[in-house]
């Protein structure tokens, strides 16, 4: 019998592998950094959902926060960012991912699944539900602003080689 925890683990693992593969094989350094940011975020979510809240938060702060900004700064300093503004395919791809992230994030707001099932590891996945019950729109807006800021900074400051 496949539990909810196993399904969540499988989905998150597939998402992690897809983002990491996109980061590895993308020709544009800006896309690589955006994908690496999402990979860091997904790994932090995995840690947080499976009984490692402290580790997950520290991982997100360190890798999705500090190291991503550091990478972005170095890429802009060295002029390695060759993201051409007006690339419709890339814009459609980033837009689709952003919409999917927003939809997935807003799902619990409209009476969707709030993960409260016990995992096989004995962790409670409802640990973060207080965020959704207390300040749901704040968190959603924060996620959208975070994603938009990342894309906006790379688009505005990128220069062609």
């Amino acid at each position: 019998m496949v539990t909810l925890a196993t399904e969540v683990a499988l989905l998150l693992s597939v998402a992690l592998l897809v983002t990491v593969t996109a980061a590895m094989f993308s020709r544009s350094m800006s896309v690589t950094i955006i994908m690496l940011f999402y990979a860091s975020l997904i790994l932090g979510v995995i840690f947080t959902l499976f009984q490692g809240v402290l580790v997950g938060l520290l991982h997100i702060i360190t890798f999705a926060g500090a190291i991503s900004v550091l990478l972005l700064t170095i890429v802009l300093m060295t002029g390695e960012s060759n993201l051409s503004i007006g690339n419709r395919t890339l814009a459609a791809l980033i837009g689709t991912i952003t919409i999917l992230v927003v939809l997935a994030s807003s799902y619990p707001l409209f009476g969707g699944m709030v993960p409260t099932t016990e995992t096989t590891a004995g962790s409670t996945m409802g640990l973060l539900t207080f965020v959704w019950t207390d300040r749901p729109w704040d968190l959603l807006i924060l996620i959208v602003v975070f994603a938009a800021a990342m894309i906006g900074i790379v688009n505005l400051l990128s220069e062609k080689k």
């Binding site: 690589t32 690496l36 995995i46 840690f47 890429v75 096989t120």
Partner: protein
């Protein structure tokens, strides 16, 4: 039957091998550092999943914390070296740098 620990272990192995492939294949020092970061991700996930379902969860979390701190520090130093290399040689291609050196 697949458990979440098996899934995470498999993912961690794939991440480590993807990162090692990137380190050996890439011709850009930035990509090398990013590949190193992916290896660190895989190591963190392997350490974390080794503590799932057992009594050693706290130990595994502590090891992941150490790994995050060490990985972040190494990456920051690597990026600083990349800036120096770019200032010195004007390129981030290791083969070009080797040519310019001799």
């Amino acid at each position: 039957m697949y458990t979440d620990q098996t899934i995470f272990m498999t993912t961690a192995t794939l991440l480590i091998f993807l990162g090692l492939f990137g380190i050996s294949y890439s011709r850009n020092l930035m990509k090398t550092v990013i590949s190193f970061q992916i290896v660190v991700f895989g190591a963190n996930l392997a350490l974390f999943s080794s503590g799932l379902g057992g009594a050693s969860n706290v130990m595994a979390n502590t090891l992941v914390l150490f790994s995050i701190v060490v990985g972040g520090s190494v990456e920051a130093v690597g990026l600083a070296l990349i800036v120096l290399v770019h200032k010195q040689y004007g390129t981030l291609d290791p083969w070009e740098i080797r040519k310019l050196k001799h």
